[in-house]
Symmetry: C2
Subunit: 268 residues, 2 copies
């Protein structure tokens, strides 16, 4: 059941300072099914990609060759939904608020659990997420406009290409945060210290350089809200594998729904 926006904002506030275990429990029971930005602050959040073992080598190599959009946090053993390094008590079949099931590059379902799609040959990959550095930026008084608006961050397909690996190829996807001009240098410096969360921005201030024509038409997430004097700052984004899946069209993949991340036990 998807909650109404008001309830979602209330719940997100409630969950902002809880432990990852409590946040995942609320998610597992579908009491929370919204975007996870701002939840369980202080813990790394992760993008999820699940593939059959037969495609796992090409995808693992894709991540190794493209560490900025795809920083690897954990890879499960085939058939196991347990991320032993990132959160050993979690179950990746239930513990994300919303998933996307892809067949030949098309989304065929957006469930809140993937128990009925689970198979013994599936391997799950957890990749770092830029939500992880948002708390540190906010702590320094650098405003997160999408937090203030209670929306998902805006994400865009770019003209930059990832290094291909085997059958997998696709564009770099970026997330964008409007940052007050006077805080841009500090923002770059701070986020460069988070290599497991995409690190430093890939572009500052010029959407056309990434072939982004209109910031008000994001490819994923919500319409961004800027204040006067804000500069658009772009980070490599963990939705990059989803754009790669749409382009490469492997037979079967499950991911998180954009913005609806896995909350790990790993401290930032």
């Amino acid at each position: 059941m998807k909650l109404a926006a008001g309830v979602f904002i209330m719940l997100r506030t409630d969950l902002s300072d809880v432990t990852p275990e409590i946040a995942r429990a609320a998610i597992r029971t579908d009491d929370f099914t919204g975007p996870t930005t701002g939840i369980a602050k202080g813990y790394l959040q992760a993008n999820l990609v699940i593939l059959p073992k037969s495609d796992a080598y090409d995808f693992l190599l894709f991540c190794v060759r493209n560490p900025k959009p795809c920083p690897l946090l954990d890879v499960t053993d085939a058939g196991s939904p347990q991320p032993l390094q990132a959160a050993p008590a979690a179950d990746l079949r239930f513990d994300l608020p919303r998933y996307r099931v892809y067949e030949r590059g098309q989304v065929v379902a957006e469930p809140t659990s993937i128990a009925e799609w689970w198979r013994e040959d599936l391997v799950a990959f957890l990749l770092g997420c830029s939500f992880s550095f948002e708390r540190e930026l906010e702590r320094r008084g650098i405003p997160m406009r999408h937090w203030q608006a209670g929306t998902n961050v805006a994400m865009y397909r770019t003209n930059r290409r990832c290094l291909p690996a085997g059958r997998f190829h696709g564009p770099l996807v970026v997330s964008m945060r409007p940052i007050p001009e006077s805080r841009v240098a500090e923002t770059v410096e701070v986020t460069s210290g988070f290599p497991q969360a995409h690190g430093a921005p890939v572009q500052v201030g010029s959407p056309p350089e990434l072939d982004i024509e209109d910031l008000d038409r994001p490819d994923w997430g919500d319409l961004p809200r800027s204040e006067p004097g804000d500069v658009p700052v772009f980070w490599a984004c963990g939705v990059t594998p989803q754009a790669m899946i749409q382009e490469s069209k492997p037979g079967f993949v499950i991911t998180h729904a954009p913005g609806h991340m896995f909350i790990t036990d790993l401290k930032i």
Copy 2:
């Protein structure tokens, strides 16, 4: 043809400040077949592991799960001996001074080229090497005792276990450098800035903690030479995959001979 020790020392001195291209040319023609420590200073050196595609996923995952001993620099496409990211003009079949060919965990040959073993299903992995930070330590006046002695660094099997991945499991191997006690803190600080070259030491000062009984009996490399007041400092080592191969006994693997590394085009 293996060169006599005197010629080897002379050649190594000659090659210490050349470009990677010139160093690899001398190696390709077998004019140089010795350990590469101190050669082409300022460029990353790399450990080599070559496996059939059928074992490549488990090995790639082994590296991702054990980044300290196995920092990935490059992975070739199956059948290609060209490391596109680390040195696109190189050929991994000829450009290392000496190789080890393993069958079921046993060394069956130590050739200076692997042209006759090359197959279309082979994948080559390049892993960072601690030789890369030695130059920076020496530049700061922290002595590299094995450089002074003209020997290979000493390497030891430890009681620590790597995280297993699929069919692959084995112990952590470390390299040891005797460091003057007054420079140990600086040594730790400097090397922690080289994550692609094994990073900070895993142990300082206590061989028994790693189950190393006798420093004068290294498992790989040469007898170490210490000066009074030196402390043994241990780093995760790129020979770790070779200990894993000896224990896991995959059908067919080629590696560099310990100490005889691949010289990349990547600047330190």
